[in-house]
């Protein structure tokens, strides 16, 4: 209170110099306290800022894995939500705010996000996270890819020229993603390498442990024939021994046509197929038509972390999907 009054008096002409000295004298102890407090606050603030790696990921699965590897060293945001189509994310300028201050950018890569992430990156004005920079992590590095086409032809629909990009739907590929993310974190924060490596080991062990459980649950349904809406389940299919007979889409990205529905209905009847798997961002109207005709069950699976409120981590994606599909195949 006294401090405020002195400041007011200071502005009176003539008394200026005298009042400043009074102020200095009376507030010496006060100032000392303030400077100690400021120093501590500054140190804490600096430490907090220095200790947090700002990461932006394209998908929520990458966010989940980055949080598991980075622990309390990272603050992660994802551009896409877990319940939207990763091919068609709208490149809203608001995403650029986070990208402009990011230390690390993690992308699924291949050409999954080609319609939106290059534009956002180019507008971010952040050299740390551009392709080729230490802060750019392509999670598909060293990934064993499936469905790599021998020729690129758009007459085949939305094909991916580097291979099917939905690789995160095989939990073992999660380990490759985690390795790539750990490499990225270690490039931007070499001092905490030991922490990231320890978290990576824990992540890998969790995947291995859970794999036993997931495999056991899926074992009775090995070889089960199913229909999928879009060609995004090949990694899940191969890992858990399912057989996707056909897709609701006649070609990737082309909505179901009446002739395709007739074809699918016939395949369901002749193969005794029990399940159509779809994703949260596809309309179920055509699948419902097929269900009505054949009695097949339509299961909306989680394609990413956050697809449904209970799917909170990368591990939950498989817990959820395996629970859904095993229940439907019974």
């Amino acid at each position: 209170m006294a401090h405020t009054e002195r400041i007011n008096i200071n502005f009176l002409p003539g008394d200026r110099q005298r009042n400043i000295s009074i102020l200095k004298f009376e507030n010496k102890t006060h100032m000392k306290r303030i400077s100690i407090f400021t120093a501590i606050a500054f140190f804490v603030f600096q430490h907090a800022v220095a200790g947090t790696i700002k990461v932006v990921t394209t998908l929520t699965d990458l966010k989940s894995i980055t949080e598991l590897i980075g622990g309390n060293k990272v603050a992660v945001t994802s551009i896409a939500t877990g319940y939207q189509n990763p091919h068609f994310v709208d490149p809203k300028p608001s995403y650029i705010i986070n990208l402009s201050g990011a230390d690390l950018f993690v992308t699924i890569g291949l050409d999954l996000e080609t319609g939106w992430s290059p534009q956002l990156l180019a507008s971010s004005r952040n050299t740390k996270i551009q392709k080729g920079a230490p802060g750019y992590v392509d999670a598909s590095e060293n990934m064993a890819l499936l469905q790599v086409p021998t020729a690129a032809n758009r007459a085949e629909g939305d094909i991916h020229i580097y291979g099917n990009p939905h690789y995160w739907l095989d939990p073992l590929n999660g380990k490759v993603i985690a390795r790539n993310i750990a490499n990225g974190l270690e490039r931007v924060d070499p001092a905490d390498k030991a922490i990231f490596e320890a978290n990576l080991a824990t992540f890998n062990k969790t995947i291995d442990d859970k794999m036993k459980d997931w495999q056991a649950k899926m074992a009775p349904f090995k070889g089960s024939k199913i229909i999928a809406y879009h060609n995004e389940w090949v990694y899940f299919e191969k890992r858990f021994g399912l057989e996707i007979v056909d897709f609701m889409e006649p070609k990737p990205g082309i909505p179901p046509t009446p002739s395709q529905l007739v074809k699918v209905i016939n395949e369901i009847k002749s193969n005794n197929i029990k399940v159509i798997i779809s994703s949260p961002y596809f309309s179920t109207s055509s699948s419902d038509v097929v269900a009505k005709q054949t009695g097949v069950k339509v299961v909306t699976m989680a394609t990413s972390t956050g697809a449904f409120p209970t799917v909170k981590t990368y591990f939950d994606v498989f817990d959820y999907d395996i629970a859904q599909i095993t229940a439907a195949l019974k």
Binding site: T81, Y83, Q84, N85, F88, D90, P91, K92, P93, S94, I96, I97, S100, T114, G115, W116, P118, Q119, A122, S123, R125, T127, Q130, K131, G132, A133, E141, N142, M143, A144, L145, V148, R154, G157, D158, I161, Y162, G163, V176, R179, N180, N183, E186, G253, I254, P255, P280, Y281, S283
Partner: protein
């Protein structure tokens, strides 16, 4: 056979690494001079880092990795065809059809510091019917300026509101709004010069400030290329708000000043407002866009005579289903050189977007002004893309 091939591959890798390490150690064994102590320390630190990285590397190599092929330094190349048919209720020739434009895009990073974008347009002259080529856009953009700055130089569509920066094939209607054409012409404000944009440190919402200086475009009704040293100056403030996960609002303010055909100055002020509703989960099925722009121009014709003109458009685009869109638009425009000529128009466009690479649209429009009787126009447009297709602005 396969195994033999693989072991050969491993041998080559080991040999390469050995040669690489050899050359490293050779460079480390350069005879020491009096100042080499620090560099030796630095080298050994570097070697330790390399060794550490090489130890980490094998863990990142799962089996069955496929190599990627067809890499090249060629830019991303795309060709966009724009075929149109048109009808107009007045004049001698009522029907026409033409390949309105063929746009060739070439886009790539130049080096770690910049990227380049070229759009070459092969268009048809509406009068002679002959095809000619022009550089629609060709510019270099920096990727690495400090302080959140980005510099662009070349020929580019200028940052006036929402219509001007967008290539016409990406607009949800076939003709351009009257108010826009009255000021900037059919080709838009597309000029040669430099552009500096700054991403403000505002964390609450996206805010970008753009300054552009250009030489003056000869075909724009508002501005001409100055015979002297008079350049066109433009400032644009873009504000983008995320209202909810599903809704956004953009508010833009633009000011332009440049030489006109009376060798004096024309000043243009514009204001744009765009509301978008796109439910994140079902964004490929449903969306709504309401976009409006208001223009004001002050055209100094002589020392004591100037013309003030205004114009605006407002459209609503509604997505009916995954591939069908309906757009209704209202136009009002005055001529920047004669504000007693007033136009008003209504149009409706139906679009069928087959894929990301082709769309068909049909538009009907009625125009009335205070000079000639009401007339009607209709267009049919088929846009088709081959090769790379760059992302559009949101």
């Amino acid at each position: 056979m396969n195994l033999k091939y693989k072991s050969g591959g491993y041998f080559a890798v080991v040999l390469f690494v050995a040669i690489f390490m050899g050359s490293l150690s050779a460079s480390a064994q350069v005879p020491a001079d009096s100042t080499s102590k620090d560099s030796t320390v630095a080298d050994s630190a570097l070697l330790k880092q390399i060794e550490a990285q090489m130890q980490a590397a094998p863990a990142a190599q799962p089996t069955g990795t496929q190599t990627r092929s067809s890499l090249s330094f060629n830019p991303d190349i795309g060709v966009i065809g724009d075929f149109q048919g048109s009808y107009i209720s007045k004049g001698e020739k009522n029907f026409d059809m033409y390949l309105n434009e063929t746009e060739v895009s070439l886009q790539a990073a130049v080096d770690p510091y910049a990227r380049a974008d070229f759009f070459l347009s092969f268009g048809r002259d509406p009068v002679t019917g002959k095809y000619g080529v022009e550089v629609e856009e060709g510019y270099v953009t920096t990727l690495s300026l400090p302080a959140k700055l980005q510099l662009k130089a070349g020929k580019f569509r200028e940052a006036v509101g929402r219509i001007n920066p967008t290539h016409p094939h990406a607009l949800p209607f076939i003709d351009l709004p009257n108010a826009y054409v009255n000021l900037f012409g059919e080709e838009g404000l597309n000029d040669e010069g430099v552009s500096l944009s700054w991403l403000t440190p505002n964390k609450a919402f996206y805010q970008e400030l753009v300054f552009q200086t250009t030489a003056g475009y000869t075909e724009s009704p508002a501005f001409v290329r100055s015979e002297g040293n008079h350049l066109v100056y433009l400032g644009h403030l873009k504000n983008f708000f995320t209202l909810t996960d599903n809704a956004t609002l953009e508010l833009g303010l633009t000011g332009i000043s440049g030489p006109n055909d009376s060798a004096r100055t024309t000043n243009v002020g514009s204001f744009d407002l765009t509301y978008k509703y796109k439910p994140v989960q079902m964004n490929t099925y449903h969306s709504l866009t309401w976009q409006s722009e208001f223009y004001y121009s002050h055209n100094n014709q002589t020392e004591d005579h100037s013309v003030d003109a205004i114009g605006l458009y407002s459209f609503i685009q509604y997505q009916l289903a995954k591939r069908t869109f309906l757009t209704g638009r209202y136009d009002y425009g005055e001529k920047p050189y004669n504000n007693s000529i007033k136009e008003q128009a209504y149009s409706l466009t139906f679009g069928w977007y087959a894929t990301e690479f082709s769309k068909m649209e049909v538009e009907a429009k009625t125009t009335e002004d205070n000079i000639e009787p009401r007339f009607y126009q209709a267009w049919l447009r088929w846009i088709f893309v081959i090769g790379a297709h760059g992302a559009h602005q949101y």
